[in-house]
Amino acid sequence: MKHSARRARDLATAKLVVLAGSGGVGKTTTSAALALAYAIDGQRVLVLTIDPARRLLQALGLQTEHASGEAVTPNVAHEVLPRLAHLLPATQHGLGLGQGGTLHAMMLDPTTGAIAMVERLLPNPAMRDQVLNNRIYRAFLPTLQASPDYMALELICELAQSGAYDVLVLDTPPMHNALDFLRAGHTLASFINDRVLKWFAKVPLPGKKATGLAGLLGTGGSMAMSVLGRLFGADTIPDVAEFFVSFQEVLPRLRDRALATDALLRAESTHFVIVTAPGETSLREAKHLHHTLHSHGIGATGFVVNRVLRLPAELRSPVNAPQVAEVLANSGIAVDRAQALAGHLQLAADRLRHLDIADQEHLRSLRELAGHGGLCVSVPQREGDIHNVAQLAVLGRTVLDGARGEVVF
């Protein structure tokens, strides 16, 4: 493969950072933290999320209560740094602002994004209306909500080309398969490039005569069409054909964009950071993701491992329950009760120790996978979420410095 793994130290000069990982591992919080760190460094940053719970905006203090109903307009960049600056420690206070750093947060809504994209690609109002009013297009519009992968990529590409930002941080959509995301641009491009378009576009519209179908597709193609006709009802094929006809203006441009997004993901200045958390499942998925990226010719920069238990040294070895019981009994507690209490304490200590042993093993294998120069940052588990901007800044700074080891809050 042409591309080798990105070095962690090059993160500081990245133009796009994609945070990937399975859901629930703290991806959004990590995205917010990293974006904040770039802004403090004086860069113009935009962080894009599609998080339905607006966790990013919450993490950045834009929206403090879920139930408040405060409307955050999707697909619009919200400047958040001025609101955050005073929450930072004095040493960092106003640093980014002084150096021209800005931090914008944006939440993607795929449906309105799709409409905006059609409007952007089709300057002609009549054509635009034809597409926007197409029955198939309208019927499928709500389903975009369930597969936001392409729309997220498309929006990032648009933002990258705008030149308005130095760094883009993308909090990837929660998807069951990371591969879908990587493929989104490529799939769309090959689909548009494919004969399928011409094929559907040549299907006779009601009242018109079919032309050149057999020549275009050969026997296999007409058979495929006959199968599709029987599957979906022959009368729906013209509907689909009309959809493609009215989309014909858009499609070549859409294809160019799809190819551009694919190129953007492969650029040297694009970094992939895999976010994960302890647990066999998360570990397996993080490794799978690392492997997937590699097989696409993109080297992951490394890992951020959230919620790692930080155990006091005393708990690394088993607690001696009889000894604890004796100390308690010596303090005047009845022997029976002292033993029961000591049993409780020992059980709690054992439980945390077992989790710790698994976590340490987990970290070792990820460090190995990240390799020399790769990123492997572990974030100690905190009781409750990180809501504190100062802590976010510390987390972001540690990742940005490409450090190996533990975040110290």
Binding site: A224, L231, G279, A348, A358
Partner: protein
Amino acid sequence: MQQSANGAQIIIHASPKLGQGLRHRPPVAILRFTVILPPMVAPLSGPNSPQQLPQSVICADLLRKEVLFVTGKGGVGKSTIAQAFARQAAQAGKRVLLVELEAVSRAGPLLGVRHPGPQPQRAASNLDLMALDVMDSLRYFAVQQLKLETLVNLALRNKAVESFFQAVPAIKPILVLYQVWHMMQVHGPRGDKRWDLAICDLPTSGFVQGMYQIPRTLQQAFRVGPVHNYATGMRAMLADPGRTGLVLVTLPEEMPVVETLELQAILQREHGVQPAALILNSVVPAGIAPDDAVMIEQLTAEPADHAMRASLWAAQLLAGRRQRALDLLPQLVAAAHGRVLQVPCLFRRELPLAQIDQIAAQLATDLAVAPA
């Protein structure tokens, strides 16, 4: 209270004190309760103060359905819960089909199925495992429709057709839904159904929203024809709480709980769907009593017994987590009309089969102490 006399009985057993006694009853008695419970009942204990129903009652009700969809935010353990339900149902004598949609199979390694695929494979007694991909489901749909496998394979080998189906947004939920729906109607040589219960381990909450949205989309996009008819059939199946149940899994932490409640509200508002159960996964079991912890803390304030202080720290950390879980419980109980199942934390980063079976047993076991 507009419940029948039988319904009223259930309310009595849902009360904490009597619930305590219930767990020692033989299974026969529990079964008798569950039979009288109508599927997907409205709040059983009045709209203002829904109480948590006994786990055995909720679990038995879930296992009586034809299809269970298990979902939740990533990392909350939905695959674990899906596997546990599958084991529980199989052990109760149901013939179970566990359906996975992940790129990396989780149940495969657990159940010793090396290459799970679109053909159901026997994983254990009464338990089959199937792993699906969008093209598998499309092929299945086409073969069922046309009955001509060769023709279908030829058509689907067309690269244009494949890229079309890979690119159509959210087509996967509908094809998977169709396949599961159809497979559950398949009858064996003696006219009996092949499976009693399908348990689907669904990827993300976005998938679930798509699943409920798409039959409607297809009805609009295809006004007549076979797709329209199937979309209508699937919508009917999804809307029948006696046949299908949605199980939402969450962790006892603020963010996952808030997101679960948001998803529940969206599904209710947009699609009129009420989850058959909410699962509060990984609840820390009761440990040291708060008073005792305070007492030990005072005792250890002076002497520098590091081991004891550290273990006290561990005990208090776990007690804090348990308390947060209990604090979040009432919101979930209210949202799910009492249909909340608690699963204890097992303090393991990996869950081999023995632990899955332990969770399976817990799902059907009433809690000793209901939360205040």
